[in-house]
Amino acid sequence: MKSTTKKIIALLLVIAAVAAPLAAQAKKYPTKAVEVTCLFGPGSAADLIARKFSDLAQGYLGQPLPVVNRTGGGQAIGYNYVKNQRPDGYNIIWTSNGIFTAYYQGNIDFKHEAFTHIAQVSYEPVSIAVKADAPWKTINEFMDYIKANPGKVRIGNSGAGTFTHLTAAAIENETGSRVVHVPFGKGLAFASLLGGQIEATIQLPSEVEGQYKAKQVRILAVTGADRVESMPDVPTLKESGYPLELILWRGLAVPKGTPADIVQTLVETTKKVVESQAFKDFAKTVAIVPSFKTGAEFQAFLDQDDKTNAVLMKQTGTSNR
């Protein structure tokens, strides 16, 4: 009898032990905080948007999504960290075109295929700004000036191989001439523009909007398909006769191998956030365009963007591949 009791107890214990994690698993994802890795420092555009996103997503997911800044190494540290996490949906990377920059510069050995992409959240064009008293009134005049003065015009960007640098390179291609690319840190390009050390700077609309409205700078063009809402009189490159469309996209990804149902939950949550009024209002204040893209459509877009980046980085000499 005694041994039977023991056996029953043992059996119950085993069942309990096996069932406990099962029960835990049965609870719907997420059961704890979901970490969002941001590759840029606090206060940066990427960081601000990520924080707003996670703030809103918490309302739909029911768990907090703390944003953790893992900066440095040309984004390599952050991408590498998330890639090596368990694919359980509790580590999300706040990604962008930057993944191609990091790959082609040789900082990381993987591209977008290393992640399962949840969705695109937003995009923003960049703007080409010159000083308010500069002689060029339109982008066409500026392009002609570059053509007539090869190797003279200095254009500031936010770092070698970054999106703003590649945009300048694409513009350079349109003129068939050469410009001097000057890499700057955050905010410094603008100081040099006003100080007259560079002729133009390529920056995110949110970074120049204030100075544009105060008429310190003139914005010659924006690089998206449509005009920017807060700068209605600035034409796009396409309108001005240059067949270029360059946008900086931002989105979410998780390590490859994350279960499909978890990915689905995240896709749905992202959709809800991006389409919410709160996010739309926020987007206006930081001059980004909310844009939801997922699945095959997003994948095709990424593959295309990969090719564009590869070409431009080779051209600018920033590619090590």
Binding site: S44, A45, L48, R51, G72, A160, F184, Q197, Q211
Partner: protein
């Protein structure tokens, strides 16, 4: 006048005052704990600001900024471990004074000078911001290089009389700084295939390690059971006397102006100002003995940066230092675009910022002077408890600077280097100076050459640069002369 009264009116609303107090306390605590900086404090309270009205939000952030700048001096003086890179210069003489039993006095001087420096910077911000902003724009990469070059002349002053060893220490700092990706083209240097080294060496973790680890080792290596404590822990609060303040006033004023100037130039920041402030105080004091002057100098300078850094941010929308870059982002969230437009469309808000900044400085002063008596009590703890706690805080601080365990290893490695450097009489301050100035120097040097398309004449083509080179020569010559004098005597 009416605008000012209105500004103070809006600054004295209950919610704004509460945010000031909260911000100041968070800032002081983050500044005082080695490894936690005001930047982290700002990040921590950032989400809180989303739901506040704009003035309360910016007040909270400014409170952390100003509180954190001054809070760093507490651990620098009492423990010999700077709470923030800006406090590294304060640590030099401040901690030696503390060892002589003058911790309270040193702290009092630090707090007082920091507050005066802060207030001077606010006044300058209010009165002549647009003019200074215009002048600051003249600082292109070539001029910033000249300024930083001048900053390196401070090595002679902070080497405690051992100039050769100081220079070697500086070179170690520069060498360490070159690790990682270069700032211009992203070329990998000394990374040994490690992704973590790609990010370079984290200055904050390295600095904590260099200052803290040797202290901790020393604390545990000495048997204190039989030794009577030399430190005078009864000091509660000791502000400098009127006579001392009079003697210090020149240094404080000069350092505050240095701070405002450095703060206003985009791409520089607190640590540079602090070292320059220390250097000019040391030259005035003209002795290797620790002096209150050399505590007042760096403190007034780096707190002068607070108002200075806001000058380009508010007038041009360009951040003057890393902390203001975060403030800029926070304002953006509230739909406020700093820049000339802010003055035109929201002048009330700008005046509100001025008023709160003024009050925050006084508030931080009151909290600090009230807190000194408690801060000093830290020394009452048994060393084994105290230093174990510090060790834990250092690890947390190093980890949280990038949320990366690698920075903790960096800290320990730096500690080992620092330990041997101190053992063999190499001053560690020049290493920190080089670590802080090095990246800016390299960055501006290379950018200047890109802009001039390789023409080296760019470095001496502007009067501003030439003035700084002249300063450098002057400082070095006066050092040489001092050395000769002391030899004769």
């Amino acid at each position: 006048m009416e605008a000012i009264l209105q500004a103070f009116g809006s600054a004295l609303q209950l919610n704004v005052i509460l945010m000031m107090i909260l911000g100041a306390v968070v800032g002081i605590v983050f500044g005082a704990i080695p490894g936690l900086t005001y930047s982290m404090g700002i990040i921590l309270v950032l989400p809180l600001t989303f739901n506040l009205d704009p003035l309360a939000a910016i007040t909270l952030l400014l409170g952390v900024y100003v509180g954190g700048m001054t809070g760093g001096s507490v651990s620098a003086i009492i423990l010999g471990i700077p709470g923030t890179p800006s406090a590294a210069a304060t640590c030099l003489d401040g901690h030696r004074l503390a060892k002589e039993g003058k911790a309270g006095k040193a702290l009092g001087t630090a707090v007082l000078s920091a507050t005066i420096g802060g207030l001077i910077s606010v006044v300058i911000l209010v009165v002549v911001a647009p003019i200074i902003a215009k002048f600051a724009l003249k600082f292109g990469p070539a001029e910033i290089f000249a300024l930083v070059f001048f900053g390196f002349s401070a090595i002679a002053g902070i080497s405690s009389g051992k100039v050769i060893k100081g220079l070697i220490s500086g070179m170690i700092g520069l060498l360490v700084m070159t690790m990682g990706m270069d700032p211009v083209m992203g070329v990998k240097r000394y990374t040994f295939g490690s992704i973590n080294l790609l990010g370079g060496v984290d200055v904050l973790s390295f600095m904590i390690g260099m200052f803290a680890i040797p202290q901790i080792v020393e604390a545990f290596a000495t048997d204190e059971s039989g030794i009577k404590r030399k430190l005078d822990t009864n000091v509660s609060m000791a502000f400098p006397t009127i006579k001392e303040i009079k003697a210090l006033s020149g240094t404080i004023l000069k350092s505050a102006l240095i701070g405002v100037g450095i703060g206003a130039i985009p791409g520089t920041g607190g640590p540079i100002a602090a070292f320059l402030g220390y250097d000019q105080a040391k030259r005035k004091a003209c002795s290797d003995e620790p002096s209150l002057e050399c505590v007042a100098g760096p403190e007034a300078a780096h707190n002068g940066v607070t108002g200075g850094a806001l000058i380009p941010m508010l007038t041009l929308g360009i951040p003057g230092d890393p902390a203001t870059a975060i403030l800029l982002g926070a304002l953006l969230i509230h739909g406020l675009k700093p820049g000339p437009l802010l003055f035109q469309e929201n002048s009330g808000f700008v005046y509100g910022i001025y008023a709160t900044l003024f009050i925050i400085n006084i508030l931080v002063f009151s909290i600090q002077s009230f807190g000194i008596r408690f801060f000093v009590k830290v020394l009452d703890f048994k060393k084994s408890y105290l230093y174990t706690t510090i060790m834990v805080l250092c690890v947390i601080g190093a980890y949280s600077s990038h949320n990366n365990m690698f920075d903790v290893f960096t800290m320990f490695a730096a500690g080992l280097i620092g330990f041997f450097m101190q053992k063999y009489g190499f001053p560690v301050a020049p290493t920190i100076l080089a670590l802080v100035l090095g990246p800016t120097m390299e960055d501006s040097f290379r950018r200047a050459l890109i802009l001039s398309q390789g023409n080296f004449m760019t470095f001496i083509s502007s009067p501003i640069s030439i003035v700084f080179y002249a300063f450098t020569v002057f400082v070095l010559l006066s050092q040489v002369r001092r050395k000769k004098k002391t030899k004769k005597a």
